[in-house]
Amino acid sequence: MSALAPVLVLLCCGPAWAQLVDSKSGIFGRVTDAQTHDPLRRAFVKVSKTQQEWNEITDEQGRFRFPQLTKAEYALIAHRDGFSDRAYKVELSDFDDRKELPIELFRQGLITGKVSDNLGQPLVNCKIEALSARTRGGPVQVLASVATNDLGEYRLSGLDSGAYQIRATYRNGGPAEFGPSPPLTMATTTHQGEFSIKSGVVITGIDFVLNPVQPARVRGTLHTDNGQIVSAAQLWISGTSGEGGHNAFAREGKFEISDVGPGTYVISAETRDPDAASFGSASVQVRGDDMNGIDIVMRPSPIIWGHVRVDGDGSNLKLNQIYFRRTDQQTALGIEAGHLDKDGNFNIALPPGEYTVSPATIDDYSVERVSFDNKPVTNWRIRVESSAEPKDFVLVLKPKP
């Protein structure tokens, strides 16, 4: 018997074993539920080698066949709705025996519940989202979503093992196709605590009570710390869990952000003038009524001076941009690019916050060292503080042997 080693850690829980029915060529197997051992029909199986891949769908007995494949090492991935993807490695020794490959998939988790309003009436078409458990300052990712039916009930399926937060968002727009399009009433909330999902777990009774209200408008002014009006700026409003994010514009120092549901938000403002980029932000607590007089003071954005150096021959380097991706979802685009000059230098104004940095392309080079503000960078993450003093970003590369 030959081992099929797991190749993707997040998908595989342990090794599996498999043999082949034909000693000369071909990959054959059977996909089953890891818990019940029932065959999984209509599952996808993908086998790949370098740039080539082959796909099959399992039959009534959960079987698949790739009779045309010759003896070689392959990657194998199986997929079925309701089960977590799982990857294996097919080794040369797997071609020596005559048993079919047993592919076992683990059932995904499920959360069910109901959403109603404060009168106990079901909220229809309310969006329920499974969010990745958030690291401090990190982004919130929506990993699965579903809408409630006419009874207000939902079944949030397709959850791989892990920890989740569950958010409910209700927006009731105009019912007519050409009718008023903005939300008439809205509400959002995140369920308290995290849900730990393991394979096949069903968590029931995760109910929400929302109180939809007419969305509010938030109005205010933008000026510099010496009182000068900021003529134009881009704004982004986003809830503390990334909910309700949308943009707005300020003109002649004034802004109005519409369609804001009840909740706590951060309003971020930016100007993109390359010579005098500025930023500002304000926290607001919206309770259903319009808010006026929100004052945002704009300050100069910190300037990052970037330097890319090569220890050795840099003639094959095609790197022209370094990307800075904001991780806290407090901007509209969330990504900025520093453009390298012929000497490998760039400068970019970035509002304060945490960023992940990624060079556009460094194919033939490996990273020797990354530093920001004279400190080593780990995991490509940097934190830009609010002081206006210039900061150095240094990336040192080395040609791959």
Binding site: F44, H79, D81, S157
Partner: protein
């Protein structure tokens, strides 16, 4: 044969503080309906919105007086006895506004979708389907309300209008990848399938499901035979010419045979061939017409019976052209000013020379024309293609070049429309459509914008008998569906017969059109 549309100007409302109270009840039982969304829209858009309380009452203070549209919505119901957009109401300064809105209960259709092995299908879309008709498209089927299956294959289609409907369920794995954030990180082959109640693969053999107001009708389990999409590939001859983008740009299209059904999985597809003329389209099994066309030539359609195997090495030769050599002529000594006239055949407008002649390549043997912006009082009196008179805007031609003659007359009829209410009132007339009593129903795109507010003139009307549809703000969206107006509300609309060159004055009163 044109549809005529006139829009009046609307004036702003006056700032005020007016208490409003709306009571929402079930039209059948008169029971209060809590949690209904209530919206007052004034001239400046949405003024006030909120939800009814446990007694079905929404009470608030409106910020402006004057005409408003009151719209109440609640899942499972629709407003009874309102216009299409809601009710028009007047809010008067210093006077509380109170009203009761009755809501007609809608229905629910529920059930379960399984695959060919009896396993539940997650992510299938199940629709209630009705027959529709458009002047340019003919008869087709369209889904209006839909539900999605959950992990048990269970679905509920809510807000279904009481009556008879076909039920169609489709599964397309690409939908899962596109719309579900819980999808796999890998790319998988496309699979899909379709089924109609009570379990047939074609709508031709399907039966309708009947639902009553407020009913939840659970129908039998439906099984979709899920199949893998196959590849249809080949090349067009000759390959595209010129630097990218090639000129003319060819397109290859694959259209499912039979009546159009507004479902994704079986619609077909289209692609732009590569520089070498090669094309490839992924499609679910079925019967399709494959063809290629560029701005000058078309291929003969290739009928394909797509089963479970890829179809390769198909050849489409762009060797057939359908050309029109046309001219605009006048019915009399006067010459029309063609500088603003737009004539097109579902593509770029044609270019007239000084004598009114033009040349046009068509995309196939079946074509349509549209003629717009005729000079005041002129109308299209007759069209002949290859010597045959055309009734309507669709026509057939043979391969090669056909002669086309568009005969214009300067003696169109003229109707002066008087408005009986000030244009500042939301209840005032918003549009007037003259729809022909007989002959082809005109397309909604041929509507005309207003010339002025407060009273206006419709010119260049072909002689004939028309129904006058006078629509207020509540109902003006029905101008987009002239067939519905003529089919359902013909008797409500007064008749008018116009002779060539006649002038007539009318003072229409807005019709009451219940919601659709």
């Amino acid at each position: 044969m044109r549809t005529l549309l006139i829009v009046t100007a609307l004036a702003p409302a006056i700032h005020a503080q007016i208490p409003v109270s709306v009571r929402v009840v079930n039209a059948a039982t008169k029971a209060p309906i809590p949690s209904a969304t209530v919206l007052f829209s004034g001239m400046q858009g949405s003024d006030l919105s909120g939800r009814s309380d446990s007694s079905g009452v929404f009470a608030a203070t409106a910020k402006s007086s004057g005409s408003h549209i009151l719209l109440v919505s609640r899942s499972g119901y629709r407003m009874k006895s309102s216009g299409v957009m809601g009710n028009t109401i007047d809010l008067q300064p210093g006077r509380e506004f109170r009203t009761t809105i009755e809501m007609s209960p809608l229905a629910v259709i529920s059930g379960r979708i399984l695959d060919q092995y009896g396993d539940p299908i997650k992510g299938a879309i199940v629709r209630s389907i009705d027959k529709a008709r458009d002047p340019g498209r003919g008869e087709y089927y369209q889904g209006f309300t839909a539900g999605f299956t959950d992990d048990r294959g269970e679905y509920r289609i809510s807000d279904v209008e009481p009556g008879d409907h076909w039920i169609g369920a489709e599964y397309e794995s690409r939908n899962i990848e596109r719309f579900s954030s819980s999808s796999s990180r890998y790319r998988w082959p496309q699979t899909g399938g379709i089924v109609f109640f009570p379990g047939v693969a074609s709508i031709a053999g399907a039966e309708q499901v009947s639902v009553q107001p407020g009913e939840v009708n659970r129908i039998v389990d439906l099984r979709i035979n899920i199949q893998r999409a196959v590849s249809v590939s080949g090349r067009i001859k000759p390959p595209p010419r010129g630097e990218p983008p090639p000129s003319p740009q060819p397109m290859v299209s694959l259209e499912r045979a039979g009546p159009y059904i507004g479902l994704n999985a079986f619609a077909g597809g289209g692609t732009v061939p590569g520089r070498d003329g090669k094309f490839q389209i992924e499609v679910l099994p079925g019967t399709y017409a494959l063809k290629a066309a560029d701005a000058e030539k078309v291929s003969r359609p290739l009928m394909l019976e797509v089963r479970d195997k890829d179809m390769t090495n198909l050849e489409l030769e762009l060797n057939t052209s359908y050309e029109l050599h046309g001219r605009i002529v006048s019915d009399g000594p006067e010459r029309p000013d063609l500088s603003k006239v737009v004539l097109h055949f579902m593509g770029q407008p044609v270019k007239f020379d000084a004598s009114g002649s033009f040349h046009q390549s068509l995309g196939g043997g079946t074509a349509q024309f549209m003629l717009q912006n005729l000079p005041d009082d002129w109308y299209l009196k007759d069209v002949t293609i290859a010597g045959r008179h055309i009734n309507g805007e669709e026509f057939q031609t043979e391969p090669g070049t056909s002669e086309a003659v568009f005969l214009l007359s300067p003696r169109g009829a003229r109707v002066d429309v008087k408005i009986d209410r000030p244009a500042t009132d939301l209840k005032s007339l918003a549009m007037v459509l003259l729809l022909p009593e007989e002959g082809p129903i005109p397309r909604p795109e041929s509507m005309h914008a207003a010339e002025s507010a407060g009273g206006f003139v419709i010119r260049g009307i072909p002689p004939g008998t028309y129904r006058i549809f006078s629509l207020d703000v509540n109902s003006y969206l029905l101008a987009l569906n002239p067939e519905l107006l003529l089919t359902k509300y013909r008797q409500l609309a007064p008749l008018i017969t116009l002779t060539e060159g006649e002038r007539r004055s009318i003072q229409p009163t807005p019709l009451f059109i219940p919601p659709e």
